[in-house]
């Protein structure tokens, strides 16, 4: 079942199209890798799919409903995004950040076991309560991944999620992604990391704003 779909989507910057007629469908329980050189349009495509930019052409749909017709709060609960910024308040601890985001997204839902989620992404207990400003890039990335987990979203849009992660962190990321896919999440992963590509069910290659190759794993 297709969760998120892009239909002939285009995006222009200063009159020049950086994405042209991109078609894409993310099914529930699938992991799609998006590859391409720097400037190919991967991050722009993720921003369009997340609804944070409006396409110049075409339409993006979540469960067959155009994103433009979906309430922003509902969209935030369904789509989790991890991009170049960690999406965290640097003066707050990892625990405080995750509790806050859960409270904003699901005010009436009981809080999940947040400490367990942080441990799931390999963050030691001693690091749960200190401000994330003191975290390394890899630790920030792990906390951001825990934020995605805590969101309860069923569509994940991840831009270079292995940035800053050590080997153990990358293995843990692969494990988390595999688990999420098994539980039915539709995952799109923009990456240059060859270690993550074998995880994907399908690989899309972007070049000069076009999808030039689609490869099934």
């Amino acid at each position: 079942m297709t969760r998120l779909a892009a239909e002939a989507v285009g995006w222009a910057v200063a009159g020049r199209f950086v994405l042209v007629d991109v078609d894409l469908a993310l099914a529930a329980g699938s992991l799609t890798a998006l590859t391409g050189e720097n400037g190919a349009g991967k991050s722009s495509l993720l921003a369009l799919l997340a609804g944070s930019r409006k396409p110049a052409r075409g339409v993006v749909k979540l469960d067959d409903v155009p994103l433009a017709d979906i309430d922003a709060a509902h969209l935030a609960r369904r789509l989790a995004r991890l991009d170049h910024t960690p999406g965290l308040y640097l003066e707050l601890s990892a625990l405080e950040n995750l509790k806050l985001f859960h409270g904003l997204l699901h005010p009436s839902r009981p809080e999940p076991a947040i400490a367990a989620l942080l441990e799931r992404v390999g963050l030691a207990r001693r690091d749960h309560d200190r401000p994330v400003r003191g975290f390394s890039r890899g630790m920030l990335q792990r906390t951001a991944l825990a934020r995605v987990l805590a969101s309860g979203a069923d569509v994940w849009l991840l831009d270079e999620p292995s940035t800053g992660l050590d080997r153990a962190g990358s293995a843990l990321l692969a494990d988390v992604l595999d688990d999420a896919r098994r539980q039915g999440a539709a995952i799109l992963l923009a990456t240059h990391d060859p270690a993550l590509l074998p995880l994907a069910d399908r690989q899309l290659h972007l070049a000069h704003g076009h999808v030039v190759a689609t490869e099934a794993a």
Partner: protein, 223 residues
């Protein structure tokens, strides 16, 4: 739901402010500098000019109130959390309200600390403290709400630091004028009838800003 989410965001901002201490410290320091500059600027033959208290006080609060405004929103943007904070169940209103309340708290505490210093520097006393405090409360409320709105609208604009006062100050002019006039009259022991007009104008201004700002903010966030 609106109040619950606003409180959640406000708690977060308070916690961040207590840990970073950057915005409030700068606001207070800037206000203090303004008072000192005005006090020495208005010295006449070695005598402090008590008559200048209303103008010096209100302009100090206007200037210092602008110092931390943009920071309230740029701090969200730096961590990549602005969009998420806008997309709550209650829409973007909790974010704007929490920022306005935060600004009101900062400027309120600054006022309470600065007011006695102004009186000392200008060798003056408050003639009608209740009226002056009421005028200050109305002024700070309008400034906080409108300031939060303008800062939210400018957060992604280049040269926002330059644009903020250029956009905000003309919009705040009616409130500033009414606040200064009410304070001048209060200091001159004017009767209530003379003061009511200016306080009423401030009340009407605040009511308009409180009604329009959330609506306008929501429209702009949607675009």
């Amino acid at each position: 739901m609106l109040l619950r989410l606003t409180w959640l965001l406000l708690q977060k901002d308070l916690r961040i402010a207590l840990r970073s201490r950057e915005v409030f410290g700068f606001m207070l320091l800037f206000a203090l500098l303004c008072v000192v500059v005005f006090a020495f600027g208005f010295l006449r033959e070695g005598e402090a000019a008590a008559a200048q208290v209303p103008g010096a006080l209100w302009v100090t609060l206007l200037f210092s109130g602008t110092v931390g405004l943009l920071r309230l929103f740029t701090a969200e943007d730096e961590g990549g959390t602005l969009q998420l904070a806008q997309r709550t169940l209650a829409g973007p209103h909790p974010l704007l309200l929490s920022k306005a309340l935060m600004q009101l708290l900062f400027s309120g505490v600054t006022t309470l600390l600065i007011l006695p210093i102004v009186l000392v520097f200008f060798d003056a006393a408050l003639a009608q403290p209740g009226v002056v405090l009421a005028a200050l409360a109305l002024g700070l409320l309008g400034q906080a709400m409108l300031g939060a709105l303008v800062a939210a609208l400018l957060v992604h604009v280049r040269l926002r630091e330059v644009l903020l006062p250029l956009v905000l100050y003309p919009l705040l002019a009616p409130l500033l004028i009414a606040g200064v006039r009410a304070t001048v009259l209060a200091q001159a022991h004017a009767p209530a009838e003379a003061l009511n007009g200016w306080l009423g104008l401030m009340l009407a201004y605040d009511a308009l800003v409180l009604a329009v700002a959330p609506w306008l903010h929501a429209r702009v966030v949607e675009v």
